[in-house]
Amino acid sequence: MTDINGKSRQDARYLAAARQHGAMIERLARGYEADAELRRDLVQEIHAALWRSFAIFEGQCSERSWVHRIAHNVAVSHILTSRRTRRTPLVGLDQIAELADEDDPEQEIGERALSQRLLATIHRLAPADRQVMLLYLEDLTAAEIGEVTGLSASAVAVRIHRLKALLAKPYRSQEKRA
């Protein structure tokens, strides 16, 4: 009876978390996997891990941090076990001067264009910086980013500072052109 209750509690927790964070999981998968078919697999893997994880979730951290941790860990394993070769090496935030694909000066700074450039930039980043950027874009606080990644508060602060400068650049360029 306890087991049945445990299972139904696990199911209920998963369903609630997946409803709340489902869109984030889809976006996170886009940040890790460019191939549409493999991305579908990754989303399924994340959901399966999330469902399993609610059997052992006892409030070790906030539910939001828990879901992000599970999702990023599955995605990082996905990258590490992927045997495909990468054409360009992954880099850190400190090695990126501008958002990717900013070679068209007439390009409109619309939401869609910006999201494409964000995605292209995310795909160039090494895992630790990629995690910080994705978590920042999901509106997690610096403390939550530290809780999810294990980065020190100062390391998170440095990366957020670089990110803010990077993300503000297109708007500064637009202002200059105007």
Partner: protein, 196 residues
């Protein structure tokens, strides 16, 4: 939603998403384990093939030392199969590991892969070497090493190719292990050594 335009742009890329059917999740829960099991079966089938072929050699080849060499290859194959089983099992992370801070999880994965790759000589190559050496030089051991001078160029070619293949596999794995070690050191630098 945040008033930061970059966050808005990112969060608007996918605005909907929800749970997968629970039946599907239960069915797929052990997908990873099934993949590992499939990979193991393929590797064990390859080992079985080696065992069958070299057992036949151990009975059919004319030179006794070469037959002993073939039997030793069979023994080495069992060692490799056991090691594959042991190490592949270790590749399956417990659910608790998935709840660790992401960099700690990543580091643990990289350490596991690095250790397997760095020691590939001992558990994947070395077990085959005594048997193969006996098979290659068995005739020379029985008939005197002077026979080596009478080996044809294609015999030496086969010896060189086998040696080159072993060195190449070892070098490739060491290189991958060094790359992983660099990644581990980067994580340690990021977390101040608390990533373990």
């Amino acid at each position: 939603m945040s008033d930061d335009p970059a966050k808005q742009a990112w969060q608007s890329t996918v605005a909907v998403g929800g749970p997968l059917p629970l039946d599907q999740l239960r069915r797929n829960a052990d997908k990873f384990y099934r993949l590992i099991r499939l990979r193991n079966r393929i590797e064990f089938a390859a080992c079985l093939l080696v065992v069958v072929v070299f057992t036949a050699y151990a009975f059919l080849l004319p030179v006794e030392t070469v037959r002993v060499g073939a039997a030793t290859v069979v023994g080495g194959t069992f060692v490799v199969a056991w090691q594959l089983h042991r190490r592949a099992s270790a590749l399956v992370p417990p659910d608790e590991a998935l709840a660790a801070a992401t960099l700690a999880h990543q580091r643990a994965q990289m350490v596991r892969q690095r250790d397997a790759l760095a020691s590939v000589f001992y558990w994947y190559l070395l077990p085959f070497m005594p048997g193969l050496l006996l098979m290659i030089f068995g005739a020379a051991i029985e008939q005197g090493f002077g026979i080596l001078g009478h080996l044809r160029w294609n015999d030496w070619g086969a010896v060189s190719l086998t040696a080159a293949l072993f060195v190449f596999v070892w070098w490739l794995n060491r290189r991958a292990a060094r790359k992983l070690q660099k990644g581990i050191e980067e994580i340690d630098a990021l977390t101040g050594g608390n990533g373990s």
